[in-house]
C-alpha cells in the first residue's frame, strides 16, 4: 500500500491527543456520590457479596460471602442486630440464662414457618444442631459449637467409657488434675434461684431424664480411633488401669447438650460458662435446616426445587459464577416487615470491575473491602462510601519457643521499633491496635496500654539482651551480633501483605539495624506451617470475630493449638478468662478480661499492628444496611428509598 502523501498522520495525532487529554483528567462526580444514583425500577437489591459461594447449606461453609446469602435464606434462634450485631430475637422470642451462663433456655415463637408452610418447632433446632455437629456433615465451623456439652466429643468421634457391670460411665474429673469447678450446668440442680432474677415464669420442666443427665458430672471421653486412644492410654497408667475391662461407647448425637423440652422450648447445656453464647448463636452453624428435606435429598437438598428455607427470603435461582437470586418468602413469620422483593447476589470478579459496575449503576452495594487502598483517597470523599471499624485485628505472631525470640526483651524491642502511627496513616482507613482486641468495637472494654514507638528504648533493650546496636557514621544502625538467620517474617502471598511485610522490614532496618528476611507462602501452606510453629521469628496473623465479645479474640490464647501459634500459654491467663466468663456482671467481667489481656500483652507473644476497617460502598437510596463491624446484614430491614430527600447523604448513624 504505497501512499506518497502522509496526510493522515496529523489525523492520527489528533485522535491520540484527544485520548491522552481525556485520560489525564480524572473524572469527578458532580453530585457528591461515586457514580450514577438512580434507584432500580423494581424493588430489587443488586449486591456483590464476594467469592462464589461454595454451598448454601449453612452447616457447610464459614466464609463471609456465604454468610450474607445464608442470612437471607435461613434464621436461627437469634439474629444479628443490624447496627451492633448483638443478638436480637429471631425464631426465639425470648431467652433465659442461668447464673453463670452455662445453660440457656430459649422460648420459640409459635408462628415461625418453613418456606413450604410447615411450622418450625424446637425439634427442628435440635435436629439442626445434631446434624451440624455430626462428624459426617464435616461442618467446617463445627468448633464454634464446642461450648455445648459433649459437642466436641461427638464431632470428633470420641467414646465414653462404660462399665457394663455397674452401668456407669467414667467421669472426667477423676482423671483431670486441678480441674476447675464445674459450671452450674453440670452441678446437680439447685432448685430455684439458679436462673437470673429476671427469668420468665414458665420455668422449663426440670425433671426430664435428659436434663438430669446434663446436670451430672461430665463424663470422660477418649479418642474414637483405636491407635490414638492407645497412644493416650500408654501415657497414663492410672487411666489405662481404669479403662481395662470396660466398653467404649460412641458419643451419639443424642448425647449433646441440646434438648427440646417441648415444641417451643429449647434448652442448651454448655460445658463451661459462656455469656457470649447467645451472640454466637447467630452464626450460620446454628441456623435451622429442614429435616425432612435433608433426609430426603441428602447432598442435593439445597438445589432449586428441593430447598426449603426459614428465612425472610427463599431461593429462586442460582447460576454459578453469574447470579444467585432470592425472593421474599410470604410465609416467613415477619413477612410484613420485609421490604425488598428480591435480592440478586453477584459473585465478585475483581475489584475494579466491581467498582466500575457500581459507578455506572448496575450494582447497588458492594461487599466488604471493596475499595483498594490506592482508590481510597479518591473514593472516600464520595458520600456513599462507608468506613467503620471492623471486628478484626491484624498483628504479628512471634514464635516464642526459639531464640532469640524467646527473650522477652527482644520481643519488646521489636515491638517498640515499629512506627505504627505512620503505618495506620498510610493505610488511611484502619485504626491502631494495642492488644489483640480491636479498637472501637467494645466501647466499655478497657484495652491494654499501647506500646509506644520508642526506637531508642528498643535499642537499649536489645543491648540489654545481648545484642548491642551501634550507630554507623552515616546515621544508620547496625546490630552485628544479632543472629539474622534466625529471624524471618512469614506471610501468605498477597500484594497487601507484601507491602506490610516490606514496611516492617524497613522499620526494623531503619531503627534497629537488623534486616529481617521476608518469606511469602501460599495461603494453605502458610496456615499449616504457622500452626506447627514451623517458622522463625514472626508470622502474619489476622483474626475476625466470631461473635461480638472480646472473648472471641482472647480465646486465641486459651489453648496452645490453632490460631495461637506462638508457643505462649499461661494458666493464669486461662484462669482469669474462666473467672470472667463466670461473672454475670458485665462491667466486672470486662475488667477481668481486660486484666487477662494486659497479662498477655506483658508477655508480648504478638506485635499488634492495626484494627481492620470495613470499607464498602452503597448507593444512597439503599437504606437499612449499616457498616457494622462484621459487615453482614439482616436483609429484612433493607429497603430502597425512592424519595431523594430521605436518602443517606453520609455514613448512616450507627447509634
Amino acid at each position: 500500500m504505497s501512499c506518497s502523501a502522509p496526510r493522515f498522520i496529523p489525523l492520527a495525532i489528533l485522535l491520540i491527543s484527544c485520548v491522552i487529554i481525556a485520560g489525564c483528567t480524572a473524572s469527578a462526580s458532580n453530585t457528591g456520590f461515586f457514580g450514577k444514583t438512580q434507584p432500580p425500577d423494581r424493588n430489587v437489591l443488586r449486591y456483590i457479596t464476594g467469592d462464589e459461594p461454595e454451598s448454601i447449606d449453612p452447616h457447610k461453609t464459614t466464609g463471609q460471602p456465604e454468610t450474607r446469602i445464608l442470612m437471607a435464606l435461613y434464621e436461627g434462634l437469634v439474629e444479628y442486630d443490624p447496627k451492633t450485631m448483638d443478638p436480637i430475637p429471631a425464631i426465639a422470642e425470648r431467652w433465659d440464662e442461668n447464673n453463670d451462663s452455662s445453660e440457656f433456655v430459649f422460648h420459640l415463637r409459635k408462628n415461625a414457618r418453613w418456606s413450604n408452610g410447615d411450622p418450625i418447632n424446637a425439634n427442628d433446632f435440635v435436629y439442626s444442631m445434631r446434624r451440624a455437629l455430626n462428624p459426617e456433615t464435616r461442618a467446617r465451623g463445627a468448633s464454634l459449637g464446642y461450648y455445648i456439652k459433649y459437642a466436641q466429643a461427638y464431632n470428633s468421634g470420641e467414646v465414653f467409657v462404660h462399665d457394663a457391670q455397674s452401668n456407669t460411665f467414667l467421669l472426667a474429673r477423676d482423671f483431670t488434675p486441678n480441674a476447675a469447678p464445674p459450671p452450674l450446668s453440670e452441678q446437680p440442680l439447685s432448685g430455684d434461684g439458679e436462673f437470673r432474677p429476671n427469668a420468665q415464669e414458665s420455668q422449663p420442666d426440670r425433671d426430664t431424664a435428659f436434663h438430669q443427665l446434663m446436670h451430672s458430672p461430665e463424663r470422660l471421653t477418649l479418642p474414637g480411633d483405636e491407635k490414638a486412644r492407645n497412644k493416650l492410654l500408654a501415657k497414663d497408667a492410672k487411666l489405662q488401669a481404669a479403662v481395662a475391662g470396660k466398653d467404649f461407647v460412641r458419643v451419639r448425637a443424642e448425647d449433646i447438650g441440646v434438648e427440646a423440652v417441648d415444641d417451643s422450648i429449647v434448652r442448651i447445656s454448655l460445658s463451661q460458662s459462656a455469656p457470649f453464647f447467645k451472640g454466637l448463636l447467630a452464626n450460620q452453624l446454628f441456623r435451622l435446616v429442614p429435616r425432612k428435606i435433608v433426609e430426603q435429598y441428602g447432598e442435593h437438598w439445597t438445589e432449586v426445587g428441593h430447598i426449603v428455607s426459614c428465612g425472610p427470603f427463599k431461593l429462586q435461582s442460582w447460576k454459578p459464577y453469574d447470579v444467585l437470586k432470592v425472593v421474599r418468602d410470604p410465609v416467613y413469620w415477619d413477612a410484613a416487615n420485609v421490604h425488598l422483593d428480591e435480592i440478586d447476589f453477584y459473585p465478585t470478579t475483581d475489584l475494579p470491575t466491581e467498582l466500575n459496575l457500581y459507578k455506572v449503576g448496575y450494582v447497588d452495594a458492594l461487599g466488604n473491602h471493596a475499595v483498594p487502598n490506592a482508590w481510597v483517597d479518591t473514593v472516600r470523599v464520595a458520600k456513599d462510601y462507608m468506613d467503620a471499624p471492623e471486628a478484626g485485628s491484624i498483628y504479628l505472631l512471634i514464635n516464642t519457643t526459639k531464640p532469640p525470640m524467646n527473650d522477652l526483651r527482644v520481643r519488646k524491642a521489636f515491638d517498640m521499633a515499629i512506627d505504627k502511627d505512620t503505618w495506620v496513616k498510610w493505610r488511611k482507613i484502619t485504626r491502631p491496635l494495642t492488644g489483640i482486641t480491636p479498637l472501637g468495637i467494645f466501647h466499655d472494654y478497657q484495652l491494654p496500654t499501647p506500646v509506644k514507638f520508642d526506637p531508642e528504648q528498643a535499642r537499649q533493650l536489645l543491648g540489654a539482651a545481648g545484642f548491642p546496636v551501634t550507630k554507623k557514621s552515616d546515621g544508620s544502625y547496625s546490630c552485628p551480633s544479632f543472629p539474622d538467620g534466625q529471624v524471618e517474617y512469614m506471610y501468605p502471598t498477597a500484594t497487601s501483605n507484601k507491602i506490610q511485610a516490606e514496611f516492617m522490614q524497613a522499620q526494623w532496618k531503619q531503627n534497629l539495624g537488623i534486616v529481617v528476611q521476608l518469606r511469602a507462602m501460599e495461603f494453605k501452606t502458610f496456615i499449616d506451617a504457622r500452626a506447627n510453629l514451623d517458622y522463625k521469628g514472626f508470622a502474619f496473623g489476622g483474626f475476625s470475630a466470631d461473635y461480638m465479645d472480646p472473648f472471641t479474640f482472647l480465646s486465641i490464647f486459651y489453648t496452645q493449638a490453632g490460631d495461637n501459634s506462638t508457643g505462649w500459654w499461661d494458666q493464669k491467663y486461662v484462669d482469669l478468662l474462666d473467672e470472667g466468663n463466670r461473672t454475670p456482671d458485665r462491667a466486672k467481667r470486662f475488667e477481668l478480661l481486660a486484666k487477662a489481656e494486659s497479662l498477655m500483652m506483658a508477655a508480648q507473644p504478638i506485635i499488634p499492628l492495626e484494627t481492620g476497617a470495613v470499607n464498602w460502598l452503597k448507593k444512597p437510596y439503599v437504606k437499612g444496611m449499616y457498616p457494622n463491624a462484621g459487615s453482614v446484614f439482616a436483609w429484612k430491614d433493607v429497603y430502597i428509598e425512592r424519595d431523594p430527600a430521605k436518602w443517606d447523604y453520609a455514613t448512616p448513624d450507627m447509634k
Partner: protein
C-alpha cells in the same frame, strides 16, 4: 467436490486427535498436578485422590482411557467446578462467545467491506487516506487497550452502557465487547478488500465491462466484488474460529462467561477435562471453518476445481 470434502474430513479427525494428544501430553508432562498447590496434602487424602482419578495407573492406560471417553464425546466432569460436566459448561458458555464473536465478525464484514470498497473506488482521496489510517490504527491498537478505552468513555464517563458482565443476548451490554472485538477484524478486512478490489478493478475483464458501458455500480456488484472479496473469504475461516472460541482477552476485560474465560481459568487450575474439552472443541471448529471456507472459495472462484 465431494471427494475433496470427504478427504478433508478424513484428515480432520486425526488432526483433532493429534491436538488432543499434544495437549494431554503437555498437561501431564508439566510438573505438579491439579490437587496440590504448594501445600502438602496428608498422605491419605492424596492417596484417595489419586485412586479416585486413576492416577496410579501407567500413563498409557490413562491415555487410552481418556481417549476412549473422548471418542465417545464424553469429556468428563470439571475438576474445579464440582459436579458440572465439561459438555455442560461448554454448552453454556458457547452461546456467549458465539454471540459476541458472530456479531463482531458481521459488523467487521459490513463496515470493513464497505470502507474498503469506498477506499478502492476513491483511491488516493481523503476518504482513502482517512479510512486506511483508521484501519492501521485498528490493527495497531491492541484490543486490551481499545476495550478499556471504550469502557472509560462510553460507560464510566457517559453511563451509556454497562462496563462489564453478561446481560443477555439482545442487550446493550453487548455493544462494547462486540466493538472491541470487531475493531481489529474490521481493519484487516478493510485493507484486504481495498487491496483485492484494487487488483480486480485494474484487470482486463473489468475494463471490458466498463467499455461495454455498464454502470459503475453494476460493475462492482456483479463483477468486481466476486474477485475482490477472495482474500476476505479466505481470511474468514481462521478468523471466525478464533473469534467464536472466545477471544479471551475481551471476555476477560468484560467478565463475560464465555469459552475463552473458562479456558483461561481451566489452564490456571489445571482442570484437565475442561482444558481437553475446550481444546478439542476449538480445533474442531477451526477445521470445520477452514473446510467451509475452502468450499466457499470453490464457489466463488469458478476456476478452482477440486
Amino acid at each position: 467436490m465431494l471427494r475433496f470434502i470427504i478427504r478433508r474430513l478424513l484428515i480432520t479427525i486425526p488432526t483433532i486427535l493429534v491436538v488432543i494428544t499434544l495437549t494431554w501430553g503437555l498437561i501431564r508432562l508439566a510438573p505438579g498436578n491439579f490437587y496440590s498447590g504448594e501445600k502438602k496434602l496428608p498422605k491419605s487424602v492424596e492417596a484417595a485422590i489419586r485412586e479416585k482419578y486413576g492416577l496410579n495407573q501407567p500413563w498409557y492406560v490413562q491415555y487410552a482411557k481418556t481417549m476412549s471417553h473422548i471418542l465417545r464425546l464424553d469429556f468428563g466432569t470439571s475438576l474445579k467446578y464440582e459436579g458440572q460436566s465439561v459438555n455442560h459448561i461448554i454448552a453454556r458458555s458457547l452461546p456467549v462467545s458465539a454471540t459476541v464473536g458472530l456479531l463482531a465478525y458481521l459488523l467487521a464484514l459490513a463496515v470493513g467491506i464497505g470502507v474498503g470498497c469506498i477506499a478502492a473506488l476513491k483511491q488516493n482521496s481523503f476518504w482513502d487516506y482517512a479510512s486506511m489510517t483508521l484501519a492501521m490504527l485498528g490493527i495497531s491498537i491492541p484490543n486490551f487497550v481499545l476495550g478499556p478505552l471504550l469502557v472509560l468513555t462510553f460507560s464510566l464517563y457517559l453511563y451509556w452502557v454497562p462496563p462489564a458482565r453478561w446481560y443477555g443476548f439482545f442487550n446493550r451490554g453487548l455493544i462494547l465487547p462486540v466493538l472491541t472485538l470487531s475493531a481489529v477484524y474490521m481493519a484487516y478486512i478493510a485493507r484486504l478488500t481495498r487491496a483485492g478490489m484494487l487488483e480486480v478493478l485494474r484487470s482486463d475483464y473489468i475494463r471490458t465491462a466498463r467499455a461495454k458501458g455498464l454502470s459503475e455500480k453494476a460493475i462492482i456488484m456483479r463483477h468486481a466484488l466476486r474477485g475482490g472479496l477472495m482474500p476476505v473469504v479466505s481470511f474468514t475461516g481462521p478468523a471466525l474460529a478464533f473469534i467464536l472460541t472466545g477471544t479471551v482477552v475481551v471476555e476477560r476485560i468484560f467478565s463475560l462467561p464465555g469459552l475463552g474465560n473458562y479456558f483461561i481459568q481451566a489452564s490456571l487450575n489445571r482442570d484437565e477435562p475442561l482444558i481437553l474439552g475446550i481444546v478439542a472443541f476449538v480445533a474442531m471448529t477451526l477445521l470445520m471453518m477452514n473446510l467451509l471456507v475452502d468450499i466457499a472459495y470453490g464457489f466463488l472462484d469458478p476456476r478452482i476445481r477440486y
